[in-house]
Structures are given as structure tokens and as C-alpha cells.
């Protein structure tokens, strides 16, 4: 039989696809435009000091957003992270102060037995991971939608934090702990920025180059097809909430260090900023599409916006309105570019 080779879908001549380019780099382009605008109107904006300042301000949101990217890639959501941050931060603080009994001792080093910073970090991460695991199980075993499970988590973890703190903040940690949040490397680069970027790179490698990363995209893109391809969908879904929990714990540790204090009302409202960062970065709430690079850009974009508006003396109320509008515009721009990009 003759071979039937005829291709109605042969690629047409290669031309530069402007919308494809825009679609790919929409958040980055948006960020550059915004930064250029601020640089023109406000000379103080484009100084190294200010830029590092912005990065430092966004580094905790950024850590959480990296974790949230995994969750949203599977078409999930985690509303509990603000509460989990508060709870995990208190755990780190209590460990740093030498345990539960000593947790309300005031001032650095006054506690009888102050534990080192890494044990504090471990405690925060353990709480975060446990919280994530619990929610992951509820989602995959009890089959309750992520929105509902983590809405419950949002309330439950906040309650746990309030109970644990018994009303007051825990503050005054040993210097090494505090350095993790306030220190600078080479007298220039804030430590939280280094932590944020290091973990962002790690997460990027995991998502882009590992088998696990492939599975996250597959489960998010089409869970049924993923299952029929032999993937353990439940395990993958559970794992992204554990990863989110890990980053919530890490973020809580850095936050406590930076403030030299932990309290039960910390992290309130973080979930919305973090979800906004991820979505601005081009990750689809429907799952299967998105990158860590986009999330980092999205996070920085929100930081730049806030910083620039503060420098320009825009009132805090108006800032909120502008940020709300920018979130919608950024995603609209992304959607527009994607709809116009050349197929294939």
C-alpha cells in the first residue's frame, strides 16, 4: 500500500510571533514597564538600597508563593497558609525560647535553655508539613474540595495559634535566629532574599527537570489521564499540600526572625497576596500551566507596586485600590496575549 504522507498541518514559515512572545513574558514585560514608570517619576526608586529593600519585603510572600505554585498547578488552592504561618511561627519562637514552659520569657537569651536557630526552623517546618499533610489527606481521602478543606484549615490553624500563644506575642530571640531575618550578606544582600531565591531556584529545578515535576503538571492538566498513565494522583495531590506546608513553615521562621517576634495574628490575609502573586505570574487557576519564574516575577511585581506607591506618597487606601486593579489588568493582559499567540 502506498504511504500516505500529506501534511495539512505543516508549520508555516517561521515569523516572529509577537503575541507568543508577549504571552510567554507578559508578567516580566509588565514588571519592566512598571519599574520604568516609577524610575521616571521617583529618582529614589532605582537605587540598589531600595531594590534590595523591595526584595526583602517580598521574600516571605515569595517563599509562600513558590509553595502555592505547586498547589495551583494541580488546580488546587490553599487558603490556610496565613494561619499556618502564625502557628508555625509560634512553634519556632517557642523552641528558640527553650521550650513551651519558657516561651513567654522576655528578651534575648534570658531563657534558661535557648535552643539554636536550626531547631526553631525545624519546628516551624514540622508544623507546616504536618498541617499540609493533614489537609492533603482530607482532600484526597475524604474527597472534600481544596477550597473547603483549606478554608477549614484557615480557621482551625488560627485557633490553634491563638490557643498556643495564650494572648501574647513571643519575642526576643537569640542573635543567630534574628540574623536569619534581619542580617545581610556582604553588608548588602538581606538574608531572607537569599533564602527566597535559593528555594525558588530549587523549586524551579524540581518542576522543570524532575519526574515529580512532570507529574504535578500532568495531574493538574488532566487528573484522569494522569491516573490512566499510571501516576499515583492521590500521592501527587497530597504532596503539593505538604510542599506548601513546608514553605509556610519556612516563611514563618523567616518572618519571626525578621520581626524578632511571633504572634497569633501574624500572616493574616497573606493567602490573598500570595495567590495574587502566583496568578499574576501566569499560573492558571485551572491547573497544568505555570512556572516558578512567573511566580517570582509576580511576587516582585506586587512588591514593586507597593514600594513605588509608598515612595510617591500615595495613601494606603488608594494603594489597595490600585493593586486590585493591577491584579485584574495583569491577568487580562496575559489572557489576551495567550489568545492571540500563534497556535503551535
Amino acid at each position: 500500500m502506498e504511504t500516505l504522507t500529506r501534511d495539512p498541518h505543516a508549520p508555516t514559515q517561521k515569523k516572529f510571533d509577537i503575541f507568543g512572545f508577549l504571552a510567554r513574558f507578559a508578567p516580566l514585560i509588565f514588571l519592566i514597564v512598571l519599574m520604568s514608570a516609577f524610575a521616571v517619576f521617583e529618582p529614589r526608586f532605582l537605587t540598589p538600597l531600595n531594590l534590595f529593600n523591595i526584595l526583602r519585603q517580598v521574600s516571605i510572600y515569595g517563599l509562600l508563593a513558590v509553595g502555592m505554585t505547586f498547589v495551583i498547578l494541580t488546580a488546587g488552592i490553599d487558603l490556610s497558609i496565613g494561619s499556618l504561618v502564625a502557628f508555625a511561627g509560634l512553634a519556632a519562637a517557642a523552641v528558640s525560647k527553650g521550650g513551651l514552659a519558657n516561651r513567654f520569657t522576655v528578651g534575648a537569651g534570658e531563657a534558661a535553655a535557648s535552643y539554636p536557630w536550626y531547631l526553631a526552623a525545624l519546628a516551624a517546618i514540622a508544623v507546616g508539613v504536618a498541617g499540609g499533610l493533614l489537609q492533603g489527606f482530607a482532600i484526597t481521602r475524604l474527597k472534600v474540595p481544596p477550597f473547603v478543606v483549606t478554608l477549614g484549615g484557615m480557621s482551625a490553624f488560627r485557633g490553634a495559634a491563638l490557643l498556643f500563644a495564650a494572648g501574647g506575642p513571643i519575642s526576643g530571640f537569640e542573635p543567630n535566629f534574628v540574623w536569619m531575618g534581619q542580617g545581610k550578606i556582604f553588608n548588602q544582600i538581606p538574608v531572607p532574599v537569599v533564602i527566597f531565591l535559593a528555594f525558588a531556584v530549587l523549586a524551579h529545578v524540581v518542576l522543570r527537570y524532575t519526574r515529580y515535576g512532570r507529574q504535578v503538571y500532568a495531574v493538574g492538566g488532566n487528573p484522569e489521564a494522569a491516573r490512566l498513565s499510571g501516576l499515583n494522583v492521590r500521592a501527587v495531590v497530597t504532596s503539593v499540600y505538604v510542599i506548601m506546608g513546608f514553605f509556610a513553615g519556612l516563611g514563618a521562621f523567616v518572618l519571626s526572625a525578621r520581626l524578632n517576634s511571633a504572634e497569633a495574628v501574624a500572616g493574616t490575609g497573606y493567602e490573598l497576596t500570595v495567590i495574587a502573586s502566583v496568578v499574576i505570574g501566569g499560573t492558571s487557576l485551572f491547573g497544568g500551566v505555570g512556572t516558578i519564574f512567573g511566580t517570582v516575577i509576580g511576587t516582585i511585581l506586587i512588591g514593586v507596586l507597593l514600594n513605588g506607591l509608598v515612595l510617591m506618597d500615595v495613601s494606603a487606601y488608594i494603594q489597595q485600590i490600585i493593586i486590585g486593579i493591577i491584579i485584574v489588568l495583569a491577568v487580562a493582559f496575559d489572557t489576551f496575549a495567550k489568545s492571540r499567540q500563534r497556535v503551535a
Partner: protein, 507 residues
Amino acid sequence: MEPLLRMMSIRKRFPGVQALDDAGLEVLPGEIHALLGENGAGKSTLIKILAGAQQPDSGTIEFAGQNVVMLSPHDAQRRGIATIYQEFTLAPNMTIAENVFIGREPGTGFFVDWGKMAAETKAITQRLGLQMQPMAAVRNLSVAEQQMVEIARALSMKSRLIVMDEPTSALSLSEVDKLFRIARELKAQGLSIIFVTHRLEEVMEICDRYTVLRDGRLMGSGSISEITIDGIIRLMVGRQVKALFAHRDREIAGDVVLKVEGLNRRGNTQDQNATVLADVGFEVRAGEILGVAGLVGAGRTEMARALFGADAFDSGRIIIDGQEVHIRSPKDAIGHGIGLVPEDRKQQALFLALAVRVNLSMASHKRILRWGVFIDETAERTMVEEYRKKLNIRMASQDQLIANLSGGNQQKVTLARWLALRPKVLIVDEPTRGIDIVAKVEVHNLLFEMAQSGIAVVAISSELPEVLAISDRIITMREGRVTGQIKREDATEEILMSMMTLSVKPT
């Protein structure tokens, strides 16, 4: 006779692709018109333009003697053109009546007149010769019944032209008959119908005239009575496809690879006590293609899914290479060398937002791992290239999104996903559904080649010519039971049909 619809010199360009280039379509009043062409020929784009869902770059549309511009789907509906897409647009949690009158509920002011809505729905369904409860929820209807609701909706809008995109692809034979009866009835009432389809036998049976598109161009149009299937295929592919559905006789001497005994499953989503699978048993040899024929709902897909671990079953033994195996998940099945190409490509096989390369390698990551964790992209690209060549997959690059491939090439990628796993048993469920005729022949050849290489192939198909063409041996199923077994050379469509429809004799 003046045509009801005349579309002329329609052009439509999408970024990177000239979807329509001087396409045309003329439909007479009171006829059933077949719109034909391979996937990618421009049929979908043409009907979307007709439905107002897309705007042409140039060209004219005349409807009922007037020059019209279809601004939106609503506009097209208002003029009397209703389109029933492959994916229905019904709201599953609402009633039949609500769906029929959605957006046009009868009533006064703010309030819906439920009685009137139900009565009118009843009247319309009776006009179609159907017994339907207007207040029943659409969710509980079969695919065929949902299609009838779509048709009822078209009638309630006083449509003069109904466009149906692949209306028979998900229907059983008796449901197809029913649909055809209704189509003839509507025709007798003076409506025109456009059928977009791949099934040429059906075209010959039901349609009055045809229009063939190829690469966005009008290739030919005329009366069905003056053309043969071969003639239509020539117009569609631009050459004569020889040996379509031709069988190759082979000697099967391999060992039994897969043996199934007493597979039982009770209960589905609607009925806990329904018999889904009853005492299903068969065996397949290495190098053999076992065809599985049966009407829709006969339990073929359920049998495949049970074997593959996609659905649980109550009892039964699965024996591979003489060893009984326990399969509780697709992962287990894959571990035992079983692959499944599912019936619904888009819902169950493809990751539309991911690249061809990623789709192809999804089940065989183990082959391309480095340090147990990382995907070795170089090895992956080599592997994908190997299967691209072997299966003649047409794509711009490995990084192209699979969503942008034609149905036939998507199906080849799905097949390649399992070949890459080097399975012992490959189950294919409706391997050529919704793909064009050229790709269909290629898929058939691929199934032969897989069998030649020693894979035991189980091929489920609703198209009897296909079953007869590709199988070495055929089993038939009905109501969850295996009703018969026959060698390919002894089988004809008539024999198979009687085996599929006769009730089982107790043994």
C-alpha cells in the same frame, strides 16, 4: 430550487494557518446535507462561521434569500440556524424543559410560566416521537437522549436549519437509527439539516447531497445518488485510498499472554445492582489482535477498564504469561505490561496544555530517568523522535502543544505513549474514533505492526468494518457478557450483528 443557505468564497485565517480558503456551501430547503472532509479540512471553522461563533475574513452568506452577517451565536439562532456541537451545551443540573427554553423562558415579566414551558416541551418532544418527562433532570439522560434535548431546543427556536457536528459518534446502532428517523421526519417538515461526519456509510444512507472540503477549499458538491464512497474519499484525500479496511491473513502461533476468567462487576453510578460485567472470560495470544464487538453499553469499555485497574471489579482472575496477577490500579496494570488507549482521547488520555514530547513520554519516565529523579531530556527527545518516525506523527516540533495536532496525530501520540512502555498487552478502545480516514488507515497498520512485533492486542470498536479489518479473532459482548467468539475469516457484519444482539443462551 433556490437554496436556503449559500456560503460563498469564505476565507478565514488563524494565526499561522489559513483555515478556510475559498470555501463554500449550499444547502437546499428540506434536505439532509453532508459536510465532509478530513480533520483539519475546515469543516469546524465553516460551521462556526455559520453559527456566528466566528467571523469570516471575507466571503458572503445568504440565508433564505437575504445577505446576512452572523454577528453572534444569538444572532444566528434568531435567524433560524441552530448548531448542535459534539460537546453538548446543556446544563446538566437543570430540567429538560429549562434546557429547551434556556434564555427564552416563557412567562410574564420576572416569573417563569412553568406549566407553559413543560407543555411546550412535551409538545416538541412528541413532534419528535419521543417520550420524555419535561421536568426530568438532564443529568440522568443518556448521550442519545441529551442529543434529543438539543434537537428539541433547536425546534423550539423555530430553526430552519440544524447543523449537527458528528451526531452519531457517541451513539449505539439503534440510537443512530432513531436519530435518522427523526432527521427524516424533520426533513419531511421542511427543515434542512447539515450533518458533519466521518462515517461515510451513514452519509450514503441518510443524506441527499454532499459538500467536500479539503485544506479549507471547496473540493466538490453534488447529489449523493450520483457518487460512491470511493468517489467521496477521492475528493477528501485527493487520491484513491486503496485497501481501506482490507484484512491481512496471518498465522498466530504465539503463546497465550493474557487470560481472563470469570470477571464480574456489579453496580454503576446509576444503579448499584446493575450487572456491568458477568463472567467475562477470554484469552489473547502474543501477536494476535482480538477484536471486541458490541453495541454501546455492552460492557466492552468497562471490561477494558477493569483489566487495566481503572475501575474496581468484584471477582475474576487475570492471568498474564501463566501467572495470576492482582491489579488494583492502572499503575499495577502497567507494571504487569498492560497498556490502555482509552476511548475518549481528550478526557482520558491527553494533557492538552503540555507539549507533544511530554505527552508521549508520560507513562515511560522510567526509561529516561537520570539518578532516579531527573528526566534526561536528551534521552527523552531521542525516544520521542524514534516514535515520531515509527508512527509517522506529523508535528512542527516536539515542543508543540498537543492540543494543536490533528485528531489522528494525537491518537498516534497516545499509541506511542504505550509503545514506549513496551507492553505485553495493549488494549485499544475505539482507536479511530473521530479521526480522519487517512489517519485511520495508518492506525490500523500500526495495530498490525504492533501485533507483528509480538504484542497481544485487544481492539474494541463500534465500527464493524473496522473490527473485521483488523482482528484475527473476534469476541462479541452484550449486557456485560461475552456472547460469542468467531474467527475473522468466518465472520461477516451480519453474523457479528446477530451475535451482538441475540440474548445469551445459558450454558
